[in-house]
Amino acid sequence: MAGGTPKIVHINQLRAGAIRFSEFGMLVLPGGFSYGDALGAGVRQALDLQVFLQDELTEFVDSGRPVLGICNGFQTLVKAGLLPGHGREKASGAEQRTSTGNRDVTLTYNARGHFECRWVHLAVEPETKANCLAQIEELVFCPVAHGEGNFQVSDDESLEQLEKRNLVAFRYVDVNGERARGRYPINPNGSVADIAGICNPAGNVIGLMPHPEDHVESIQNPLSGSGRLGLSIFRAIVSRASS
């Protein structure tokens, strides 16, 4: 629907080298509960990426091909240090594998303390480094379904850096596109500055908590309207992959 020819690949197939990143033009890390999120959302899968796939993934990202992380995929990218991705060095070995200790953004437990499923409105941040998203002209309407989607930063300066470097990709807004300003349930999880998604400085790695894949047809819209499809996000990123 978005123009690509997707293939579902198990991480064990990548680990075994049976399938390689280089065969593909775009990577999507989908939602779910990798390893049951038993040590925190995405943490254990992030370790897999770092231990087994670091080199291939680094090459993929450095080549400018797009990477999209949705929900658990976003949590994984953040916890693996790929988002927002500044300060990443081309180190390898044990040190690099545990370098996540100095992250300054995270996705943590929702402010209300529990998993929540509800539809939200998203606005693409106008100046975002993920400039392929600029072709999305309207709001995106799609559900969140998570317990650990509360985007937080270690201090004000980290937030300022994100904003200044235009690494915010999506924010939670109301039906008219006005910033949520922390108001629940428009901002469903307490994220700082209503941040729903971010990108890396090169703009090719993008992550967001909501699920655009659950609104690709108008009939899925609980308000019976048309437009504001999550599909537009996939279209935008696929068009970058093929350009």
Binding site: A38, R97, N102, D174
Partner: protein
């Protein structure tokens, strides 16, 4: 050997308000704040010594989120402070309670941590987890213990410590090759009974005697493995003795005169299966034969549906009980070779506001049960990536000691993809989780009543789930099915391997080696391995030539697979341990040796106490404040919005949820049913609905009426969202008390008779069902509860309907007649009225549902809502609230009879009724569709926020949307509107 302790705490010092509020409810008013920390214990006793640097690396990579958390690492001294000697330091600002899982209870986080450590090159690490609660406030030692027992720790699966807890590593023990011979020869009835109860076999004297005489004949004593196998296979849970028993049933009319006694040759056969055979629907693919019922979806796919209960485990350990309830029913779907695609849940709890002092000993507070059950359902369904889309929650005093947890699952499979015939020579393969001592005696436990002591005695019957292992099973079995690698499949449920292998090998016989079963820890005796109900396991019959390909798939999905033996073809069950036989039983005796019981059943129409029963007319003389009653109904916990916890379930995943639990412009109005479009079928417009009918209040009044009303409710909910009334299949779940007591059984019989009559009248087959009996606490039965779940085909996903009013100026119609049926109604319950007529089956219900469905397909219906608890008034209020629109209706127009007072029209719960909204331009066509059927034009949708009830020219009362919101949703501020 070193043990490291890592304490991970949030930087934000706010703490957990929920715990403080719950502590106050528990009567510990002085608790001011509570901070929670995660504890990890890491030890190297199995591997090379751990270095501090490695612990730091583990913290950085896996244990601590550096942005929001801090960690405290310590290595534990040899002599740790121990709870027994705990000295309360009353001067301290802060008290500490630490809680850990008991050894042997599944600790998923510890296992994931061990794997992760190995991935980082730290091998041989052993991990355990715990939780620390740091409490401030003036707290006495007894208050601390009360908090621990009543709130923070469930001693069924956890232990707690005041102050630092002992690292909860299990002690390893050696394999136990120990098989006991149990001499039964010469034992009298009393001794046989004693043997049954001491070993928790739940077999009665007749059954024990049958076993005794079998072994006398063959001249030896049974082994413990054999006796346990027989007890499981013959348990109420596995064989449904009550539903197969011959019953002498006597019914007494309202005047006390008996009808002729009926001889019933099995309830299942006489009523439930008989209805399915009578209606003979061609689209039924499998009814009552497999682990789930199966119907046709479209020309490529079938749908499987199953609902199970997990009541007793949920009473003891609500999170684990509900968690494994979902896990179990999802495996029933995997066991018919279907891919699970959705979950449902129906819950019955005691009153949430029960004062602490009214709580019987040995019972968890209903609020704690609800919290745990809801979290357990969400945890499992969400982690499996399944939408939890439909259900109900009922609150009643009768569920205080014995809550009900119904878990449902739907799956989809390609037509003809489910193989069911194991072949001689096939291997007996077990897939999935490892076997531990968890869940021993689940089948016999669920066939016994709960008592105060049950919490202490039955700990091993309760389990914690591991949804990620089950996710692997789902994917693996789907792959194996598509590659046609197995010839039969079943799940390891109650009775564990004994039931799974015993049932699959019923015709052929099976020969298995227990040493080959992968264990979580050593020390299990052979019968424990054989009986364990450890979760997330499936048993497959696999032709030897396919083993290698199955193993390759198992490796990809990281699912453990073991070959235990073969289907032998000699008709015997042979179980070995290390080569030595520990059980040898002919399958014929195992499956056919059970002497079917004979039971007596009595039923008094209108209840045994008929004198206290006022008639409908007498009730009619009372006058009441309808406005206040309506608000009271809307805020009644069984009616009020369940949004606070339904939103903790993912109802969107897989992208196919078209009618959701909450509807309307603010997505907070109630839905009648869910509509789902399965992934992989978007090339056509077909979808399906899931709905339920349940009304235990009515069951207290009239069992027969409960059954027909539950069928009608499930039906009208399905039709209300767009299902075709000629394509609806039903599931029955009976939760009842002790069926050996004649009046309990009598009510069950009468309910089954109602099920039969309703299924035939609605032309709808039962495709699957389950009974859960012995739901009693200290001799008090739960209200006999029938759940009807319905799965219906929605022919066109563009023509579904929701309950919220859409546009001011549209017309409001009431379909169906109303009668003065207040028996068992919510109104009677609130007023304390005991009598009254119970709702009857409507006349020709299918005709009106077909007409409604046809007008829906023609696009004539803007909104539609069924009338159930609280009748017309509650339904109208919900439609107005959902759509944020007012309405004006005139009660004088209602079709029907027996209205000595207008509250009957407002609140009666007559079956077969819907409220529908129709645009004025469509009114003529709509009325044409309904020609010859009872319906009335009641009023219209208003642009205001007023909901107005009139009777002719008289205005009876009105209320505002805000008042409805306050009562129904529990908040005065309309949060969603900004």
């Amino acid at each position: 050997m070193t043990v490291y302790r890592v304490e991970v705490t949030a930087k934000d010092p706010t703490g957990d308000f929920g715990i403080v509020a719950a502590a106050h409810r528990l009567g510990v008013d002085t608790l001011q704040s509570c901070r929670k920390s995660r504890l990890y214990f890491l030890t190297d006793h199995k591997g090379p010594p751990l270095a501090t640097e490695q612990i730091e690396r583990l913290c950085a990579a896996l244990l601590v989120d550096p942005v929001v958390e801090t960690a405290l690492i310590s290595s534990l001294p040899e002599n740790r402070p121990c709870d027994i000697n705990y000295q309360l330091d009353t001067e301290a600002d802060e008290q500490v309670i630490e809680v850990a899982l008991r050894p042997g209870v599944t600790d998923v986080a510890a296992r994931v941590l061990e794997q992760g450590a190995a991935e980082m090159g730290i091998h041989g690490l052993e991990a355990a987890t715990a939780t620390q609660f740091r409490l401030t406030g003036v707290l006495s030692l007894s208050e601390l213990r009360r908090l621990a027992r009543g709130l923070l720790c469930n001693e069924t699966i956890e232990s707690y410590s005041l102050g630092p807890i002992e690292p909860p590593f299990g002690r390893s023990s050696d394999a136990r090759n120990y098989v006991e011979q149990i001499p039964l020869a010469g034992l009298d009835e009393a001794a046989l009974s004693q043997c049954s109860s001491e070993r928790m076999l739940s077999l009665d004297v007749r059954e024990m005697k049958e076993i005794q005489s079998y072994y006398e004949e063959i001249g030896r004593a049974p082994t413990d493995v054999e006796l346990e196998t027989l007890a499981q296979t013959w348990s109420e849970h596995c064989v449904h003795k009550t539903f197969k028993a011959r019953i002498a049933f006597t019914r007494y009319g309202p005047d006390g005169s008996p009808y002729p006694t009926e001889e019933i040759q099995g309830l299942l056969h006489t009523y439930i299966q008989a209805a399915t055979e009578k209606v003979k629907r061609s689209w039924v693919r499998s009814a009552f034969v497999d682990d789930a019922g199966i119907i046709e979806f479209d020309d490529k796919y079938d749908l499987a549906f199953k609902v199970e209960t997990h009541n007793h485990p949920s009473a003891l350990e609500p999170f684990g009980g509900a968690n494994t309830g979902i896990g179990g029913v999802v495996r029933d779907i995997i066991a018919v070779s279907a891919r699970p695609i959705a979950c449902t849940d129906v819950l019955c709890f005691g009153p949430q506001n029960l004062p602490q002092e009214a709580l019987p000993a040995g019972v968890l507070h209903p609020a704690r049960v609800e919290d745990g059950v809801v979290a357990g359902i969400g945890d499992y369904g969400n982690k499996l990536g399944l939408p939890t889309v439909n259900g109900a929650v009922i609150y009643d005093d009768g569920y205080l000691g014995n809550p009900l947890v119904f878990c449902g699952a739907v799956g989809m499979l390609p037509k003809g993809a489910h193989p069911t015939a194991p072949q001689k020579g096939d291997r007996v393969v077990v897939l999935g989780g490892r076997t531990g001592r968890d869940g021993i005696h689940g089948a016999t436990f669920s066939s016994a009543e709960l008592t105060q002591a049950t919490h202490v005695e039955s700990g091993s019957a309760v389990q914690i789930g591991d949804p990620i292992t089950e996710k692997g099973l789902i994917e693996l079995v789907e792959n194996a099915r598509d590659a046609r690698l197995y010839s039969a499949i079943t799940d390891c449920g109650a009775g564990g391997l004994s039931s799974a292998v015993g049932e699959m090998g019923e015709e052929l016989g099976a020969d298995v080696e227990l040493m080959d079963v992968p264990l979580k820890y050593p020390g299990l005796t052979p019968w424990e391995i054989w009986l364990s109900e450890a979760q997330e396991r499936m048993v497959l019959a696999v032709p030897p030539a396919n083993l290698e390909r199955l193993q390759a798939l198992a490796d990809l999905w990281e699912v453990e697979m073991r070959d235990l033996g073969r289907f032998s073809g000699d008709g015997w069950l042979r179980v070995r341990y290390d080569g030595r036989p520990v059980a040898e039983l002919p399958m014929k005796f195992l499956h056919e040796g059970l002497p079917l019981p004979r039971r007596e059943a009595l039923y008094h129409e209108g209840g045994p106490d008929r004198k206290s029963r006022p008639t409908g007319k007498e009730q009619g003389r009372t006058s009441l404040n309808e406005r206040a009653v309506l608000l009271q109904m809307l805020s009644h916990p069984s009616v009020a919005s369940k949004e606070r916890f339904v939103r903790t379930y993912d109802h969107e995943v897989r992208g196919g949820t078209l009618v959701r639990p909450f509807v309307g412009p603010h997505m907070d109005g109630p839905a009648d049913a869910a509509v789902l479009k399965p992934l992989g079928t978007w090339d056509n417009g077909r979808a399906f609905s899931l709905s339920v009918g349940i009304n235990p209040l009515l069951g207290k009044r009239d069992s027969y009426s409960m059954a027909v009303s539950a069928v009608d409710e499930a039906f009208r909910n399905a039709v209300a969202v767009g299902a075709d009334p000629d394509r609806i299949a039903l599931l029955d779940n009976f939760c009842w008390g002790n069926p050996t007591i004649p009046d309990r059984l009598g009510a069950l019989v009468r309910t089954c008779q109602g099920c039969y009559d309703a299924a035939v009248a609605y032309n709808a087959p039962f495709i699957s069902g389950k009974d859960s009996l012995y739901n009693e606490f200290d001799g008090q039965p739960i209200p006999g509860t029938l759940l009807i779940s319905a799965i219906g085909i929605v022919p066109d996903m563009r023509h579904t309907c929701t309950s919220d009013f859409k546009e001011a100026g549209n017309l409001i119609y009431l379909l169906g007649q109303s009668h003065g049926e207040l028996g068992g109604s919510l109104l009677s319950h609130l007023m304390g009225w005991e009598g009254g007529e119970a709702p009857a089956m409507p006349n020709d219900p299918l005709a009106r549902y077909r007409a409604l469905h046809a007008s829906m397909l023609s696009g004539l219906i803007q909104s539609c809502h069924d009338l159930s608890e609280g009748g017309l008034a509650v339904a109208l209020a919900e439609m107005c609230f959902g759509g944020r629109l007012g309405a004006k209706v005139d009660l004088l127009t209602i079709c029907g009879d027996g209205f000595p007072n207008h509250y009957i029209q407002l609140f009666c719960e007559t079956n077969g009724r819907h409220l529908v909204e129709v645009a004025p331009a469509d009114a003529a066509r709509f009325e044409e569709c309904l020609a010859g059927l009872p319906f009335a034009l009641l009023g219209e949708v208003l642009p205001s926020d007023q909901v107005i009830f009139t009777k002719g020219p008289d205005r009876l009362f009105q209320l505002t949307l805000n008042e409805i919101s306050t009562a129904w949703k529990g908040d005065s501020k309309d949060e969603a509107s900004n």
